[in-house]
Amino acid sequence: MENILQVKNITMVYPTGVIANKDVSMDVKRNSIHAIVGENGAGKSTLMNVIFGKIHPQDGDVFYKGEKVNFRNPNYAIKAGIGMVHQHLMLAPDLTVAENMILGIEPKKGKIFLDTVNALETTDAVSKKYGMDVPVNKKIKDLPIGVRQRVEILKALFRNAELLILDEPTSVLTPQETEVLFETLFKLKENGKTILFISHKLSEVKKLADSVTVMRDTRVITTKDAAELTEEAIAHLMVGRDINSGRIAEPENPGKVRLSVNNLSYIDYENVQILKDINFDVRAGEILGIAGVEGNGQSELVNILTGLMRPTDGAVSVDGKNIIGMTPRQIRELRISHIPEDRMENGVADIASLEENFIVDRYYKSEFSKKGRLNWKYIKDYSVDLIKRFNILTQSSKTPTGALSGGNIQKVVVARELSSDPELIIAAQPTRGVDIGSEELIHDLLKKARDEGKAIFLISADLDEIIKLSTRIIVIYDGHITKHFTDCRDIRGMDLGPYMLGVKKEEGASGKIHS
């Protein structure tokens, strides 16, 4: 098969002096699905941006359809037939699907007016052509992420893209949405399109890709047929060593109940019952995992446990002490830490330095400030120590946190939350969107915390993660607990699925310890 895209000996050095691609070469076959895998910082996005004309390499060439190209900016790449679906979707939230579709190439009526009918029709036509359903007249902000992403793909197709680049398309999707996306991508391939996607979820790569390019530390390690590689082999190539993906060892002996949640209910402003009569315990030295499709009340539950929201009814106690009505700081003072699910929203202040983010919850303690003045010297040493211990890749402790890669930002959050010597850790999506190396590190840290006798409540949309780490698992569906698995040794995703979808449910299920 002919190559639609070839990159040859690309070397890209950013103005900051960071070398992001070193002598990178890769061939992408026409009408194939090609995955690029690699840890965060390996240089994948940089390579995509070079192809798309967003940045210009110091050395090397890009050939598209056999011709050497040098796109001055992405508009030229789009004209040539390359479409890019960014991780942060490029859509205007208050415009409708159709308006977003035709933005920049608006159909006109009588020279000055927008031809809205035409806009709706063309959108509908493109969506029919590729069998990708979208509500043409709805505003983007009213659509779930999966549908928004579909709009973004259609946008590229509408601009006649033949090569579609997707930057970590599944990192924001639920398992269901991921399935739908995969079907879409297969359909596009049938339609003759070529797909180039970045991922670090190896199960996806195996399921989807025809070929895989593995990048590590600015270089391409290899490009191979996906069929030739096992997941383990890819993981090995990516990190350069073996990865442990099995279930972690069972805890020795869980101790007393630390967190106790009793008959918790939450009804929101619109009078919708989000949580119904939730009961569970978390003991010292165990990890209680909560599985569920996102949006079934997990986020509200976490907000209540951490003092960000008040329940409508019910009790939450930590070591026998009622925490409802306490402020987040009071709750933190009880040695409860919280890894929030959205690191950019609630985890860090992106323009603040690592140092500042490390001390936000403890700046008032005597080590960090005296007489109202911060002790920056101490804070710096403290931060450098955390950066080392948690293996955070950064230029310095004064770097703005937002400049780090997603995986490293997550490590900043984890470092802060685990270094406060907590007794109870509430970990929401602790490895969302991070690379395998960081994921492994975070998993190890959580296991270590558990073995030291900490109580851990794990919330994750990633079933593999729940199964890998949890001592016990509860399943939540539509705001109530549908099942409690006390022995998780041989549990599989399929066992959880029906309870997550509410197909099966155990009456009065609770995560309480009866002993």
């Binding site: 942060h88 205007a92 007016f113 779930p144 929101d268 699910e341 593999d464 995703g493």
Partner: protein, 330 residues
């Protein structure tokens, strides 16, 4: 009936509301255009002042209403462009840029006023033209409606006409679509080849045009002279009106009517025996109250959204089977 109430329920009062509303409606539309493009324009005060001044001066010296109109519009559009230049090209903070322009306009108009008339207070020594008032043929002879809606200054009708025009411009033309897209997600607009800075500049210039009409009305319709700081905070009340109106034309019209109503009441009360300072405070007080109510309501909505920071997925999606998490058994 008590004299105040009887005057409020008179057609003259309703007429006054429209009259008083006009110099709020124009700049409020101006604020909304730039707001929709994602640039907060608080320079309407200065824009109106400049337009009001140049309109009077040019009309007095040339005797041409048309040239006065052109001069006023040019002054407003130029102010908008200048703000765009500071903000987009020089990368200055748009709020600071606008504050500078407001202060510049206040000082500049007084300086030029003195230069042209030798007076630092007003142009009362000059003979300025005014935009004509018009009687609407059929409407005029309808009893109550005619008294309220006919006989206004032509710019009042233009202002009312601008309400649907604004809607068409923003929602039915490619330019409007682009302005809104740029305001909502500039990266998205840029990614489809739209020149974000150019669109923002256009929006600021449009904003200047709307503001200029408000200024012209003030000095050449509402009254027939220019006096220092004659905008008296209307450019800021316009921001409140645009905010209350949700940047949507009908909302802005209603908000402007509300402020017009309050202003008219203040004018009517002034004839009673109440300290005038107290009365002059009323419109501003109402602005603060209205904004506070608006903010509280917005806060409520935000809390509600905050409760569901996380996308609530249509549970219909759950009908699709869970991705077989086959990795679990490895």
């Amino acid at each position: 009936m008590n004299p105040l109430l009887s005057s409020i329920f008179s057609t003259g009062f309703a007429f006054a509301i429209l009259r008083v509303m006009t110099p709020l409606l124009f700049p409020a539309l101006g604020v909304a255009v730039s707001d929709l493009a994602g640039s907060v324009n608080i320079a309407l005060e200065g824009i109106m002042l400049m337009a009001a001044f140049f309109g009077v001066i040019v009309s007095a010296f040339t005797g041409s209403l048309f040239l006065a109109l052109i001069a006023g519009l040019a002054a407003g559009i130029l102010m908008g462009a200048l703000l765009g230049y500071f903000h987009l090209k020089m990368k200055a903070d748009i709020i600071l840029g606008a504050i500078a322009l407001n202060m510049f306009a206040a000082g500049m108009t007084i300086f030029l006023l003195f230069l042209f008339t030798g007076d630092k207070g007003s142009t009362s020594s000059l003979q300025s033209l005014v935009f004509p008032s018009i009687e609407i043929p059929l409407l005029k002879s309808i009893p109550i409606l005619g008294e309220i809606f006919s006989g206004h200054n032509i710019l009042t009708y233009v202002a009312l006409l601008f309400v649907p025009l604004f809607y068409v411009l923003m929602f039915k033309t490619p330019l409007g679509l682009r302005i809104r897209a740029v305001g909502q997600n500039p990266d998205a607009a840029e990614s489809v080849g739209i020149n974000v800075d150019k669109i923002k500049l256009y929006a600021l210039m449009l904003s200047g045009l709307f503001g200029a009409l408000g200024g012209l009305y003030l000095s050449m319709g509402y009254v027939s002279w220019f006096s220092r700081d004659m905008t008296a905070g209307r450019g800021f009340i316009a921001i409140a009106a645009a905010t209350l109106g949700g940047n949507m034309p009908i909302g802005i019209l209603l908000a402007s009517l509300l402020f017009g109503f309050v202003n008219s009441i203040a004018i009517y009360i002034a004839s009673l025996n109440v300290p005038s300072e107290l009365i002059q405070m009323i419109p501003y007080l109402v602005t603060i109250i209205a904004l506070a109510i608006f903010a509280i309501r917005a806060q409520r909505v935000k809390i509600k959204v905050g409760g569901e920071i996380h996308e609530h997925f249509d549970t219909g999606d759950a009908a699709i089977p869970v991705a077989d998490p086959g990795k679990g058994d490895s």
